[in-house]
Symmetry: C2
Subunit: 240 residues, 2 copies
Amino acid sequence: MTAVGKFSTRPLYLQVKDMLIQRIAAGDWKPGAAIPNEIELSRELGISVGTVRKALDEMEHERLISRRQGRGTFVIDQTSTEHAVRFSNIRDPGAVRIGGDLVNCTIVAAAANQTEAQHLELRNGEPIFRIHRLRAHHGVPLMVEESIVPQALFPGLERETDDSPSIVVLARHYGVLLGRAEEKVGVAAAKGDVAKLLGVEENTPVLLLDRVVRTIDGRPIEWRLASCNLRQNYYLAEMN
Amino acid sequence: MTAVGKFSTRPLYLQVKDMLIQRIAAGDWKPGAAIPNEIELSRELGISVGTVRKALDEMEHERLISRRQGRGTFVIDQTSTEHAVRFSNIRDPGAVRIGGDLVNCTIVAAAANQTEAQHLELRNGEPIFRIHRLRAHHGVPLMVEESIVPQALFPGLERETDDSPSIVVLARHYGVLLGRAEEKVGVAAAKGDVAKLLGVEENTPVLLLDRVVRTIDGRPIEWRLASCNLRQNYYLAEMN
DNA sequence: AAGTGGTCTAGACCACGGA
DNA sequence: CCGTGGTCTAGACCACTTA
């Protein structure tokens, strides 16, 4: 018997899930690697296979693992082309999600102002990074964005030599698992720098994307404000 | 043993789900009513409780039923205030979904043009209804919309004395269960009638919503094109 | 107290993928 | 062929709601 126990009120399969998520986040199993099979996990934990299955089912639904009959269960690489753009609802004319390629990136350390603290559920003045990026698609400017992240989750980010192209890549680099996101969609007229960077005339209408990405535990990890010139691309929201 | 059998390749729990959905759509159990409990269903069908559970789990996830420990399993009323606006991503300042109240509604029978046929996966010229609506929120114009639906699914709709406020209400009235929807979000300048109906000046930027709602089987049932004046409301997309 | 869904067990067999 | 996840069974007990 390991960290899971039958004397908590929390259902066993959720404890199993928590434990597996924790081990993935800790790097016990790298992205792309196989997880022990169901029988083995159930023996290790001294519980039934069905209980392990229920934990794995939920994790698959949350895109943490992928299971295939006959092959096994694998940790999903969130930075793979398939998953890297899952928090972008912008599609190219062929309906595939695009996130834009990084053109330019500057990082500044600062203290959270009130809006920033509110969006990230921090206290006023807590340390954050402000990341400004310009993104292009097929060489054409797509969006300018300001991304706010708490310093606590990304220690030493400002000294990184590599660029930090997106929250998905950052999260993987710092061992954080991402969950859900909400995005407000609005419209505004491009002004000054924004217009210049996007290569459009002043007052061209652009899409305004105000997005909060959360970790698997539901804590906000990034607040991003983007101005986007869609051109022939479009924004697509799916509803269940 | 009823309509489910063990000699198909389709998993038993999916056959059970299909059958239950069919019975709900047929009106065997009205919205709000209780479904027989798991034990009873499993006895009726001659299968194990676990198999019934798996079917019910999926149906709950698809918002067809709601289950509560100690109470029972109930057919969800899609037209209840909670579920009626689930295909609208517009939120009021308090973050609650709003669909707008119906102000005005006209229905015209017609033959599908190419775009309409394409969106609804019909053949050119198949009979459709074009429904024009004006919606307001707290008495203030919110959106004008043109909704296209196939006549096949809504026989006699043009003779209805009741207004048809939304696809959700229509679907319930005609015994169709709704599944998912996709919505393209764009921006445009309000012109002519649209500007007049929304009570804004010409060329005011409005949100353009291009939405396809599908049945539980995945067939398109409504294509709606709406021009929306958000004012203090906003558009919120959720991503998993 | 009775009845419901929720959790958990311990098996069996099937369908699929790769060596 | 073997090992994997997917389906299905037949129970047990728990937690919650209602009367």
